[in-house]
Symmetry: C3
């Protein structure tokens, strides 16, 4: 049995997703196809990289992940197949893989050459499905195309650290379904740079100086009800290991979430300052 | 083969749903995972209870239903596993189960104690998946945690009847995809209180005195086309057995639905009056 | 193993889709159920016909396609089951099938008569699931109902050609997830009428005189980056074989797509003129 996942910007209304699934089942009737998402903002590589990185690891080893975001072939945008961390990725070479590959080295990358025969405005259907099914049947990557060493890297996803090691200058990577604001600053970097020092997180005009373990930790243990904390802002490292600014029990469709309440959008700055010698007067939490 | 369903407020864009499915397949490669919905309004327990109640019954006996809505652990919000009506539910103890359990007595409820080992901001992935897969492999609920007698109940979902038995005071429970307004008044209560008497339903500034069997019954049999009835308001008991105010061939994105045309929202009052001795002058249907 | 697809206007929030899937699995535990879409605009037959036509062909032969759009039974709206192109369709007789059947003759159409026993406001759950599972188990269509010769046809989806064979008068059939505008003019008709002559496509106040093979063909080969072409308008035949007006790297949520930028909506005119004797001065592309 083969697992094949789909991560695309196709949306769920058009015929695209159905057509791709039908084509996979026509080749491999017993495949297990799993949607990671089809709601990627059209052509948004950073979103894709973030979502894919945090979903793929849960799947069984050997799973084949098809990525259909900005996937039309051009001289600028090759198609590649990658073996990495005992998973396979069939995708355009546009940076999608770089958040995963920055931590785990690919074991093999090949440039798909099946296009010599296929001219297509729908390469996920016409090319990626064939490649994924070929891999699922045990085919070797080197038959799909010639091995290459490099893949395209996203640079905007890397936060910077100043020379004095007192600041991490990061940014907003993603806004999730609850309006929670996810930064590109990892727990690992926070610990390595911060070394346990007191800190102040600056985002929009708000500051934070405390890190929670989970959302409910904002609810004080001596209270009878958690309702009075609804709408409170907090910072924590989320399940992806990244610094997140959240609003307790947020809902973008009614009370709003961190993104709307703090006015934060994709790529806005999030800066952490660390303090060495004295604990400064913190701006009180609101 | 095990059936596992998912009902969450995760949305379908983030990595959450993909991660949960991957984790289930990693434990149980031949599981059948079915999405009930991931579009619950964040943290809305009533919506969840309504949708879950009307979906679970269709599934084969033994199906395990994972519910991920307001599921973070707190002293206020335990995690429970329930056996009920030959189905299993793995969910927070926040009232989600109370619409089902108000009609069918649970056979067993246990408080999940696996958390002693897991500190998590993503308990569906880190706790519920493990519990569901344990049940799917035939594991006994009592191994998961200690048996408890009670579960949290939603009170707002119960309509009231006045002492004279001439009024049912209910409210809006849910607005569906077509803008149809679903009340908390069941056909059973309507029949038991009404006993066949004439009635008037009051909702917003509109009244209704007729109950249809299905939407198309509004189309009169001597007409050639149904088009002229598009946009007409009607009341019927829907497939969930609840009083519904509908607009014939409604579409929230263009002509509007009952919710927008009548100005009805979640929790607004819907009142049925029954008449004993004389048939009153009804407000004419519009 | 049986493949059953679902194409509905149910949306993905309500209990409808979950209930239908549960009912299928209760009858056929090893069925493979695939969502084509649940996002059809409520009651929109043309959209359904377009999406279904372009998705069904990818599926394995013998797949059963359930269509739940405007499916409530009435004297106006029978329920039918169709064998066509080695696929099965279980649907209302409201024109949904006519885009497929206009090219490929159905081998059998029967009018479902199971309703004699079922009064339902949710016929997909109460009728279509039973019919689909009956077919999946090898049941014969003639047991489901009496054979009929005709099915309802959509007329609006057919473009016209003028007598002089110099014009195709078509219209907008569908707007896709990227805002691309899909017409009802096929490559086949374009070739048969145009016979290689120069042409001008008129849509809203814009004109086009070039046909691309794929989106990236708009990027000139001597440029280093494709970014400068973002937002350019182009025409091509899409993967469904229909004339499409697209905007390169469009996104309806930010920069806009062809539909918003050109102000084109469902049913707006798209007209192609062909030129015989002299190449006219084209309006320059913008």
């Amino acid at each position: 049995m083969s697992f094949i996942t789909l991560t695309t910007d196709f949306g769920t209304k058009d015929h695209f997703v159905g057509a791709v699934k039908g084509a996979i089942y026509s080749e491999l009737a017993d495949a297990k196809i799993v949607d990671i998402t089809h709601q990627i903002t059209p052509f948004n590589i950073t979103e894709t990289a973030y979502i894919l990185k945090n979903a793929y690891r849960s799947f069984p080893e050997g799973t084949i992940h098809i990525v259909g975001v900005d996937s039309e072939l051009s001289t600028d945008n090759k198609h590649i197949a990658i073996a990495l961390d005992n998973h396979y990725f069939v995708c355009p070479d546009n940076g999608i893989i770089s958040m995963i590959a920055s931590e785990i080295q690919p074991t093999k990358i090949v440039e798909i050459n099946i296009h010599d025969r296929v001219e297509s405005s729908f390469p996920v259907l016409d090319v990626f499905v064939q490649v994924a099914c070929f891999i699922a049947r045990g085919g070797n990557l080197t038959v799909i195309g010639k091995e290459v060493r490099n893949y395209k890297k996203l640079t905007e996803i890397q936060p910077k650290v100043n020379q004095a090691q007192t600041q991490i200058i990061g940014g907003v990577l993603y806004i999730d379904n609850y309006g929670n604001v996810i930064s590109n600053i990892s727990r690992k970097m926070f610990n390595e740079v911060g070394k346990g020092r007191p800190f102040k997180i600056n985002a929009s005009s708000y500051t934070f100086d405390k890190m929670y373990n989970k959302y409910n930790d904002i609810v004080e243990s001596n209270t009878k009800t958690s309702r009075q904390f609804d709408g409170n802002k907090l910072t924590l490292f989320n399940s992806a290991g990244l610094l997140e600014i959240a609003v307790y029990k947020s809902d973008l469709t009614s009370v709003g979430g961190a993104s709307t309440l703090l006015g934060l959008a994709y790529r806005d700055a999030i800066i952490i300052e660390f303090f060495n010698e004295y604990k400064p007067e913190f701006t009180p939490l609101t």
